[in-house]
Symmetry: C2
């Protein structure tokens, strides 16, 4: 049943191409190639996917051909380059047959190598981005499974959090539980930031030992069938200082405020503002130094963005994080985050199971 | 002592700029920003680094400022954008002061947002690439440490390889050992490919259970202070079929042939040819479906490339893999890989400790 999704995606893409009067769409970005072919390895091993109204051709090196041919879930032809062949030669040749192709995005270096006299390549990252932003049934199913795996990661964290354990040991236990739970690698490198380091919004684990009284921010991701989920919990080792509790309550209120108000049709900046105003009212406006959230799917950061400058429109079927935080340099930081699915009547948590009210360990 | 390296790197870069008559160099690529600032988080959290003859300015969002300011190892000023500010606004403004800037590489979408009338941006990825290709003392030290961590990962694999264990469980044990050994996250997602799947050159672990008679290819990486190492061993569970032993011996001979012949001044294609000819002579030429190796450092794939089409020149101080392999679809695959440092008189293995002759488990 899952196999019909890439076919449906190709159909929608071709509709978009017709509307824009493009002869085809060149896909370079690995997550986009994965999306249109149903094969993660196609994304990782290919040079590009060329989609036209009546064909889809994947350009890939010999080493990936056997594996990818067994994984493909859509009707895609393979154009295989032999070892030693200049990687882009076959693609350059294929592209020459067109006058105007759209493409998703690529590095300048790659485009320079590909540029062919007479062919116009026009950037249309929004086509793939727009399709990917609204998840289908199979995608939601994969994300629910990833969320159930992520739960194991946080349980492992709860089991080991105590004075004396090192930040990287906490990460090791969490990641072991994720892998044993069936996570494809990881969605992103785990963050474990304790004590003064919790004031880093992006704190990878170090050899710092946890102490009584520490705030510990743990941000973990899991991945299933290529689909990511992302969640953060903030723990307190032992007794909570009143200032820490006050900040924690404010973050939790901001989280609940945003989760209660987000609706389809709202912009990313509007959603952000619900949480931001709440934190401002509690005196933590300056300490909320990042946006409210980001889309999650085949990539852990994708459209839509939820931030003061985002004009992205939130749509039913989108999946994104809500993650208000406050960071007080030299003191501590707090963040609470879940991945949500937006339905017509508001957001439903995908990862929202670990108690958020219980921060004491 | 380590802190002098980024300063030295900036000095060399400025020399190159002068030679090319560029007013400055815009650095977008995270690994390059890490290289010139000495801060991994600067690479992960910044928008860009602008280096001119007398300044270095890092453009980053508020959320990274506190953390990055504590990590920097070179004299770099911070230009911090507030939440809600369009990310590239400050950078665009700074760039307007120039007529001709070089840059490393960036996505088309990013460059489009940045393009300012009157300023010419010229792609010079080879400047950063060339500097990074020759490792300094501190980099080699970090890679040696990563190699000692990687050893623990392979020991963990040897401890658990037996019929009945699943591929992803092997990965979980290896990665746990790497994390507990002090690896920064991982250099790349571990590959564990057993039985018929060993014929995939890039086989991530699945739930397949190992069986007696299986060939198992395990490709692991470790990372320390941002520096990666990469190695592969092929194991056999139980008795080896003669065809497997024949292929294994051929791969090992190719590995030794390449390791014995590579010298500074040789091109990447010349190095590749030593291994390729050997495998051709043993009847496995068609089965060696990828290049001989790749540079390793802040990224697990960087310059130089060693492949039939590579014109990269190998230099003393470069670090790269040698990894001949044979892949027989529907049957099995074999690969042996280590990360090496090239000295004046040839390569020295950084990861070359796990026995390569012992493939039986």
């Amino acid at each position: 049943m899952e196999s019909r999704f890439p076919t449906e995606r190709l159909r929608k893409l071709r509709e978009a191409l017709e509307g824009l009067k493009l002869e085809g769409y060149l896909v370079f970005h690995p997550a986009n190639i994965h999306y249109f072919t149903g094969s993660q390895q196609a994304g990782e091993l290919s040079q590009a996917l060329l989609i036209t109204p009546d064909s889809a051709i994947l350009f890939l090196p010999e080493m990936g051909a056997y594996q990818v041919s067994r994984e493909l879930k859509a009707k895609v032809d393979l154009e295989v380059s032999r070892v030693g062949e200049e990687a882009l030669t076959r693609l350059r040749k294929a592209v020459q047959a067109f006058k105007l192709l759209g493409f998703d995005d690529a590095s300048q270096a790659r485009l320079t190598k590909l540029r062919v006299g007479g062919v116009k390549l026009k950037a249309h990252p929004e086509i793939a981005e727009g399709l990917r932003m609204v998840k289908d049934e199979g995608e939601i199913r994969a994300m629910r499974k990833a969320a159930s795996i992520l739960k194991r990661g946080f349980r492992a964290v709860l089991n080991v959090l105590k004075p004396g354990i090192r930040e990287f040991e906490v990460a090791a236990e969490a990641e072991y539980a994720l892998r044993m739970g069936g996570s494809d690698f990881y969605a992103f490198p785990s963050l474990v930031a304790s004590g003064g380091r919790s004031a880093y919004p992006h704190g990878p684990p170090t050899s710092r030992k946890l102490r009584r009284g520490d705030v510990v921010v743990v941000d973990l991701g899991a991945r299933f069938s290529g689909y990511c989920v992302d969640a953060t919990r903030t723990f307190l080792i032992g007794e909570a200082k009143p200032t820490v509790l006050k900040a924690y309550q404010a973050v939790l209120e901001a989280y609940k405020m945003a989760a209660g108000r987000v609706r389809p049709g709202m912009s990313g900046s509007e959603a952000d503002e619900y949480a931001r105003r709440l934190l401002q009212a509690r005196g933590f406006g300056e300490a909320f130094t990042h946006g409210l959230g980001h889309g999650v799917g085949l990539e852990v950061h994708e459209a839509p963005r939820l931030s003061p400058s985002s004009r992205d429109l939130l749509k039913a079927g989108s999946t994104f994080t809500l993650e208000p935080g406050v960071y007080l340099p030299g003191r501590f930081g707090i963040r609470v985050e879940d991945t949500f699915l937006l339905a017509e009547d508001g957001v439903k948590p995908l990862t929202g199971w670990v108690e958020k009210e219980t921060l004491l360990v």
